[in-house]
């Protein structure tokens, strides 16, 4: 299907469902995407009235994971007495996963949340486009047919969509939220498990330790420790992040490589079994680090060791909150 018409259909279905939910008073607010203020971006909008639903949009630049705005209960999401509002949330597959994850971790109450599901058609890899355009200023971005057209002063460039789609979206198997009809309007599916070969990271894993180290060092060295990846992540909702702790100071805050390494190592450790593979972290990275490879590895570890895929339902206990007597322990040191 042509991307342009696909996007229009999705936008219409989102607006229709949002209108229905608001008019039937099933929800108080709807969280969705709206046109971004700068090109190649989208932004969050909270719709409170029926007549505002036309501000909701869907295109392939809606990279934010909206579940990010559910976890820390923001004042906007409460009424004057401090009770939480009933929320409708525009949910692509990975937003649905994140909502399920937050519910499994008892951070949100699913009774108060209604997802507006649809079949996501993938997200564009912004950093890849940014990298090719370089220093030139982008004035307008539009999607026509199967191409993304980026315009500037006296220049125009076409990017075929299927080449600039996010790596994670290429292997994504959960396009619409995994939910029941009670918690979701629109497209949804009920998944128990998914089959994944993880062939995309097999090549990286087969490298020698030195090659891996060089790759990781080159990729992460440009990191400025701005913590945008943490801010965008729906699973990072701690009141006090380990990098902000100053009593004790666990890790250094310089941009020396070991501090960068430690941040990414511990961040990955914290996201094991919780990452929903939405790719928001790499989309917001100002220096364009490809964090997807770490994300995929985490999914693989958890799938192989604990046979778990995050965010498929709100009932299964996440693996790092659970344990089994018969867990594999081949890594333990043993007598010869």
């Amino acid at each position: 299907m042509v991307i342009e018409t696909d996007n229009k259909e999705i936008t219409n279905s989102i607006r229709e469902n949002a209108k229905k939910l608001l008019s039937e008073n099933q929800v108080d607010i709807v969280i969705g995407y709206s046109q971004g203020t700068i090109p190649l971006s989208s932004t969050l909008i909270i719709v409170r009235k029926e007549e505002d639903v036309d501000k909701l949009i869907w295109n392939n630049l809606c990279y934010i994971n909206l579940a990010r705005y559910l976890a820390p209960l923001m004042p906007q999401l409460c009424d004057s007495e401090g009770n939480s509002l009933r929320i409708g949330i525009v949910a692509k597959g990975c937003v649905g996963r994140a909502v399920n994850l937050l519910a499994a971790e008892k951070q949100v109450n699913l009774d108060k949340i209604k997802m507006i599901g649809f079949n996501c058609n993938g997200i564009v890899n912004r950093s890849k486009i940014d990298l090719e355009i370089g220093e030139k200023e982008i004035l307008d971005v539009s999607i026509s047919g199967d191409d993304i057209i980026v315009k500037g002063k006296n220049w125009e460039k076409k990017f075929p969509y299927d080449q600039y789609i996010n790596e994670l979206c290429k292997v994504c198997q959960i396009k619409s939220p995994s939910a029941t009809e009670e918690t979701c309007v629109g497209e949804c599916q009920e998944l128990d498990s998914i089959h994944d070969e993880f062939s995309d990271i097999a090549e990286f894993e087969s490298k020698s330790a030195d090659e891996k180290w060089t790759y990781i060092k080159d990729a992460l060295q440009v990191c400025t420790l701005c913590y945008s990846c943490r801010q965008a992540c729906p699973a990072c909702y701690c009141n006090l992040c380990f990098v902000d702790q100053n009593k004790p100071i666990w890790f250094g805050k310089t941009t020396e490589f070991r501090d960068i390494l430690v941040f990414h190592l511990v961040r990955a450790q914290h996201l094991a079994g919780r990452c929903v593979a939405c790719g928001a972290c790499s989309s917001v990275c100002p220096v364009g680090i490809d964090l997807n490879i770490i994300t995929r590895k985490l999914e693989k570890i958890v799938k192989e060791r604990f046979d778990y895929t995050s965010g498929l339902n709100a009932e299964t206990v996440p693996p790092m909150m659970d344990f089994k007597m018969e867990d594999a322990e081949e890594f333990m040191l043993e007598e010869d």
Binding site: E211, K212, E256, R258, L265, Q269, I294
Partner: protein
Amino acid sequence: MTETVLEEKKVDKKWEPKIIAFLCNWCSYAGADLAGVSRIQYPPNIRIVRVPCSGRVNPYFIIKSLTDGWDGVVISGCHPGDCHYISGNLVARRRFAILKELLEFFGIEPGRVNFMWASAAEGERFAVLIRKATKIVKELGPNIKFQKEWC
């Protein structure tokens, strides 16, 4: 410390690894004690930190130890099912599994971090495993990847 100095150090036969060992109060710490009381020799490279349970060992501790210049880390707890707090070591085991795989994925020698089970009655086993861990870290050489670059 510059890399060349470290390279020289690696060649130097006198170089001995420094290993930090987090031992569970209820088993391995007593196991180490038993090894000592029974006069079983094990390498003097380890420095012991007593923790209430292997579940108390946050991955921060391990990574912080590596950035602070230790060449290796050993974590030892009770055998599965023997935990004083019922399930602390089982929770810890899942964390360690992930940390170990991540280290390998990042290209850091996973042998720097060693996990083991040793009960209070297994002084001999404790000594054998510490010998083995020391051998592994010794072969890996000094911990360069976490060294400070600017000094």
